[in-house]
């Protein structure tokens, strides 16, 4: 009888280990590999570690490719996805959880990235920009962003659903849409293959920002506030899950002492394990929204500040600059207060 119980526990323990291993391996399978580089291409590993990207280097979750003015990189993922990172771009691989399932996230914070998905194993990834999120189905799509955080989605084949501010637009082949920060997706438009000059579009957005920096900063603030709302919604859920999990783990220890190992494992299966999964999912999702807010603050707001400070350096009392600074400081205060506590030091580099 005792031997049978030991065998049962042994099998259960190994099942858990194997399942965890599969989760880790599937997370690893979401990484990409650098298959081609040209010019300045760096991999940012986080924690202040940044090095030249070489062909064959893996890009793991949480890491970024940063290309210089003449930098260009191509990445492959599971041999069925090709990611082309254009010059002056920051591209990051991340993950989130939706309906209990992990989804990979491909974030283009600045610059331009082209994606070709031939065959997707598991859930489709999300394509994220500072102003929108897109879901894809068997797609070739180009995503480009401007210095003010606006983004442009152009679909070459397949279908893309672009979502911003709780509003969705479905794009089919040879269609595109522009999304400005804090706004719903604009009207979709037809695109002739090669018919869009991305640098012209980026320059137009930049000129508009320089002309009216306060409106651009306010739009960014709206987007930022939306991200903070998500963080604030999820933070108590995660805290409560974590607290409850600790409580259940203590109970499990007591059950083992009072009723034996079998009862402990049964309690683990029924109560603790589902709670562990929920807590993990809440953590990943909370981190995703916090990282989204970080990207917006660091890369988009940071570049806005640099552009204006250096443009107005001879007259820092100019009302346009002063008004911009007011919005800028509000965003920074929200970031320090609500976002930073949700990130680790290594995320802040």
């Amino acid at each position: 009888m005792k031997r049978k119980r030991i065998l049962k526990n042994f099998i259960f323990s190994w099942t858990v280990i194997i399942l965890l291993g599969m989760v880790i391996l599937s997370a690893g399978a979401q990484d990409a590999t650098v298959v081609y580089t040209e010019g300045d291409v760096d991999i940012d590993h986080g924690y202040g570690s940044r090095e030249l990207a070489l062909i064959g280097d893996p890009l793991q979750n949480g890491e970024s490719i940063i290309t210089g003015p003449v930098g260009f990189a191509e990445l492959e993922r599971n041999t069925s996805t090709t990611i082309t990172v254009e010059p002056d771009t920051i591209f990051t691989l991340e993950q989130t959880v939706e309906d209990g399932e992990e989804r990979s996230v491909m974030r283009c914070t600045l610059g331009s990235v082209a994606y070709r998905f031939q065959q997707i194993r598991g859930k489709e990834p999300y394509l994220v920009t500072p102003s929108a999120v897109a879901g894809i189905r068997g797609t070739e799509v180009i995503v480009t962003t401007a210095d003010d955080g606006s983004s442009l989605f152009i679909v070459e084949s397949g279908t893309v659903e672009v979502e911003a501010e709780d509003s969705r637009v479905v794009l089919e082949a040879e269609e595109g849409v522009e999304v400005r920060p804090g706004e719903r997706p604009g009207e979709k438009f037809e695109v002739q293959r090669g018919g869009i000059d991305f640098s012209e579009w980026r320059e137009a957005r930049r000129e508009e920002f320089i002309e009216d920096p306060v409106s651009s900063a306010l739009a960014l603030e709206r987007r930022f506030s939306g991200l903070i709302r998500k963080v604030e919604e999820l933070a108590p859920v995660y805290a409560e899950n974590k607290r409850w999990l600790e409580h259940e783990r203590e109970l499990m220890k007591k059950i083992e002492l009072e009723k034996g190992t079998d009862a402990k494992w049964e309690y683990y299966r029924e109560k603790v394990y589902p709670l562990e999964v929920d807590t993990h999912n809440a953590f990943i999702t909370l981190r995703y929204w916090a990282k989204s807010a970080f990207s917006l603050r660091r890369f988009v707001l940071g570049r806005m500040y640099l552009s204006l400070k250096t443009s107005y350096i001879e007259n820092l009392q100019d009302p346009k600059f002063v008004e911009f600074l007011e919005v800028y400081r509000r965003i920074l205060a929200g970031y320090e207060d609500k976002v930073v506590p949700r990130l680790k030091d290594g995320d802040l580099i």
Partner: protein, 158 residues
Amino acid sequence: MIFRNIIRMACAGAVLCSFLLFSGCATVPVSEKPARVESLLARLEQGDAESNTRLTHVPFVLDGEIMATRKDARLMWENLAGISGLFSDPEIERIYPAGPEEYGKFAGTADMRVFFDRALPENTTVVEVETSFGSFLLLVSGKRFGVPVLVGLKGPVQ
């Protein structure tokens, strides 16, 4: 015989001088030498955006911002290219090592704390300088084309 002794002493003197010279170079980083920092400022003052970008480390600091890309460096120098006197007549007031505790001089934020703690290049120094344009705080480090590289800039400090 006397001539041979003179040669020996001259050789020994030369060896000693080179030792002192090279050991001096090895212990004092370029970023701590005021003359080299002034040379950097003179080059930046010339206002060539392309060469100034090459003299800027990435990532770099601008006031309280951490700028991650070479495009940011280029954009900054393109905008500053037309400003004359930004770094002219520099008077260096202080140069000291940029330890992790100095982050608050640029911004008292978590981002800056982590940047100073983990991402500053080796031998980075803080330079307090007064130019005809105003007071600036600089972060400089390393060496490129004989001068240190700019890692951070704050100012003109109000």
